[in-house]
Symmetry: C2
Subunit: 246 residues, 2 copies
């Protein structure tokens, strides 16, 4: 088997992680240039590059090629992008059953709705999305893109950065089944009408500060759509199609 000693790229990753944790690196800072970091740590430049790619995909750094002030790697924090990449790859590799993804979405979004109902968050951006979803000539793809924005906007308005990031990750991992299902749902225009009504019901319950109603409306909204799509697809998950999801 391979040695368990940390490999060169891991040494680089740990150094950067420690610098982040101890505040020697913060968002907006540039990483020490590749060549210098390699020399400091006694590793090859390719190992530095490997560690930087990992950080880039995780959304911790952004890199730009070329020279000039925008070149090199800069610390950013876009947890959402990184988590989305992570969850997408995991679902692609069958790391997570789709049913578990949907159930987790319900857990997170019910909390989002409950908290929003208890807050006085500004919902005007959310009303704008609802308005856009009323357009009569939307394709299924356009409608679902707005639907994704609606759910994400609720999560962001509720103010928990971890839940927003997890939601964004889950959202991208279920996009495949939502669109596939939409394409096969024979009564799509009727489904769209129902989804519009349900979205307004959620926002309405939130605006009235009815936390329990907001939570239960979200639960039913996600459950009903998933069940309908799963039935249309028959075998969307390894579990029997009739498996209850809540």
């Amino acid at each position: 088997m391979a040695s368990t000693a940390p490999r060169a790229w891991q040494v680089v990753l740990e150094r950067i992680e420690n610098d982040l944790r101890d505040g020697r690196l913060t968002p907006g800072d540039r990483l020490t240039p590749e060549r210098e970091l390699a020399a400091q740590l006694g590793v090859g430049r390719s190992s530095v590059r490997e560690a930087i790619r990992v950080l880039e995909v995780l959304g911790v750094v952004r890199t730009a090629t070329g020279s000039g002030p925008s070149a090199g790697a800069m610390i950013v924090t876009t947890p959402r992008g990184g988590l989305a990449a992570f969850l997408r790859l995991q679902v692609a590799a069958n790391g997570f059953p789709l049913l578990d993804v949907v159930r987790t979405r319900i857990v997170l979004e019910c909390d989002v709705a409950e908290r929003l109902a208890q807050s006085d968050a500004d919902l005007s951006g959310i009303h704008d999305i609802l308005g856009a979803m009323d357009a009569a000539d939307l394709t299924a793809e356009e409608f679902l893109a707005l639907d994704a924005r609606f759910h994400q906007a609720l999560a962001e308005a509720s103010g928990n950065a971890v839940i927003s990031a997890m939601m964004a990750g889950l959202r991208s991992s279920i996009e495949g089944y939502t669109s596939a299902g939409a394409a096969r749902l024979e009564a799509w225009p009727r489904v769209v009408d129902r989804l519009r009504r349900e979205h307004r019901h959620i926002v309405d319950a939130v605006s009235r500060g009815e936390a329990d109603e907001a939570r239960e409306t979200v639960r039913a909204h996600i459950t009903d759509y998933y069940t309908e799509v799963a039935e249309a697809l028959r075998s969307v998950d390894a579990a029997p199609g009739a498996a209850p999801i809540v």
Copy 2:
């Protein structure tokens, strides 16, 4: 700014992601060797290596150095490890406020407790951990390691792979504050006694199938400990120490 065309390592990552999604690659498979993949995609070997590092940190592949049957990159799925790495780095980079991490933990663990109470999952492993936590001579570090195992074991017994992975990730990101807090809590032996009682109360409510009681006991357990530690640390988060967490 940099070009938006996908860079060589992204091309490699997308190819592998597509192969995973379409089932051409599944757990246990070996990746096409570096040299061959580089030739197929018309990119340099260093770009292939960068993409593989990303997959390795995300827990999608495992690589072994050297030659022989264990060399090369194999598809595995260890979502937990990948998510833990992701969340650890994000928290290190201040991507997530600690308070949001704790609140998310409450949302996920309350659901875990509720579902466990509604299931007939085998809790013998969890009772073993409770037994180990009763030892009189545990250091704070040993006690907290068992505490982490206890909470993780509950999540795993509840059977949702996504929630287990998220929990493992959050757990590693809060370990720092739990140990730091424990070291400063003057009444640590008394705190340990309370935590033991609370753990048994959670498992007891789960065993009796009392979902609401299990959920509320978990909520109080996490909230009380965090509040106590936050007070001991005074400024554990950017938010005022007295900010309510639920």
